[in-house]
């Protein structure tokens, strides 16, 4: 079994109606917990999905927030 490297630190909320599907967040998330999804918003863009698993967890680095040109991401840290 692969050892889990990081502790789960936050959940990511995406304001789907603001997202334009540029994939910067998906590309720059260091732990790859944001993934391209088939979902479609009202404007026809595909917002990413926040998907953690055993080996991939959000480390609350907030990089996705910094790269989002559309102010669509909130990283909510776990207490």
């Amino acid at each position: 079994m692969t050892q889990k490297k990081y502790e789960r630190k936050a959940v990511v909320k995406i304001l789907e109606d603001r997202c334009k599907g540029c994939w910067y967040c998906v590309n720059y998330c260091p732990t790859k917990v944001l993934v391209i999804s088939d979902k479609m918003n009202a404007k026809g863009y595909h917002p990413p999905e926040f998907r953690e698993d055993k080996e991939h967890v959000c480390i609350a680095c907030h990089l996705c927030e910094l790269y989002c040109p559309d102010f669509a991401i909130f990283v909510e840290e776990l207490k």
């Binding site: 603001r18 334009k20 599907g21 994939w23 609350a60 989002c68 559309d70 102010f71 990283v75 840290e77």
Partner: protein, 280 residues
């Protein structure tokens, strides 16, 4: 609440959220610059009542309509003259010009050089996407030699401005350049500039995938970002030649000049008034 969460919440307060989603295309770099700018304002603890954002015309110019502070969407090329007037009338305000390369260096070029020369107390956020985005992608004074645009279908014969070099030659106290890939450095430079006085220039190399990238083999937002990521070199002590931008070439970034003791135009003007009053 962590400082990051707090900053993100305050960022929402500094946006006219009822107008979002904004007009910018998917992956347009202007939103990343605005994101970094608002964070720097929050970190500086600037009272929103004491902040004015002035934009000219263009996609970047639309910024004035999204910030939840007093803002001015001026006529094309005239953001700096409007800002100069605001600063003169209300020296207590932090006046920021947020505009595009065409607006600031083509039609507004003369205002830029003269305001820089006089060291007006203004922060200039110059979003350089190598083109006139709003009007469909014509070449302008920052388009690299050889680049394809609607008006240079066989490649641009012009030579672009070397913006940091130009600013330094005019004695500008703060001159930095980053790309939208450098989200943290960009925010830090704006933060630093907000804490200084005089004419401060932050040039941001930004992506316009829709009308520039498309014609220059970088159609997707990510492909433009990858170009910035792979070709940027951080070099604060770069020579003028190294700061020059070439078509698909290296992008030298950094804080090229930081000077804190140059009197601003406003200070020198106050001095003139004092001297005139003492004579009577």
């Amino acid at each position: 609440m962590s400082i990051f969460e707090d900053m993100r919440n305050k960022q929402e307060e500094l946006l006219r959220t009822e107008r979002l989603p904004h007009v910018w295309c998917p992956g347009c770099g202007i939103g990343i610059v605005l994101n970094a700018f608002l964070r720097a304002v929050i970190r500086r603890k600037i009272d929103p009542e004491k902040l004015v954002v002035v934009s000219g015309i263009g996609c970047t110019g639309r910024t004035a309509g999204y910030v939840n502070v007093d803002s001015f969407h001026t006529t094309h090329g005239r953001a700096i003259p409007f800002a100069t007037g605001i600063k003169f009338a209300r020296p207590d305000l932090n006046v920021v010009v947020f505009s595009g390369d065409g607006d600031l260096f083509a039609i507004g070029g003369n205002h830029f050089v003269n305001a820089a020369r006089r060291n007006h107390d203004l922060l200039i956020i110059a979003v350089n996407n190598f083109t006139y985005g709003m009007t469909g992608g014509q070449h302008g004074p920052t388009t690299p030699t050889g680049a394809y645009t609607t008006t240079t279908p066989y490649g641009n014969p012009d030579r672009p401005f070397n913006i940091p070099h130009l600013a330094i030659s005019l004695g500008v106290p703060f001159v930095a350049r980053w790309t939208t890939y450098h989200v943290n450095q960009l925010q830090n430079s704006i933060y630093k500039a907000l804490g200084m006085k005089g004419f401060r220039l932050v040039e941001i190399i930004s992506q316009c995938p829709t009308v520039y990238g498309r014609r220059n083999s970088m159609k997707s937002p990510l492909s433009m970002m990858e170009y910035f990521q792979k070709n940027s070199i951080i070099k604060p002590n770069a020579s003028f030649e190294e700061m020059e931008l070439t078509y698909n070439g290296k992008i030298v970034v950094g804080e090229f000049r930081v000077r804190t003791n140059i009197p601003t135009y406003e200070e020198r003007f106050d001095d003139v008034i004092r001297r005139a009053q003492n004579e009577n």
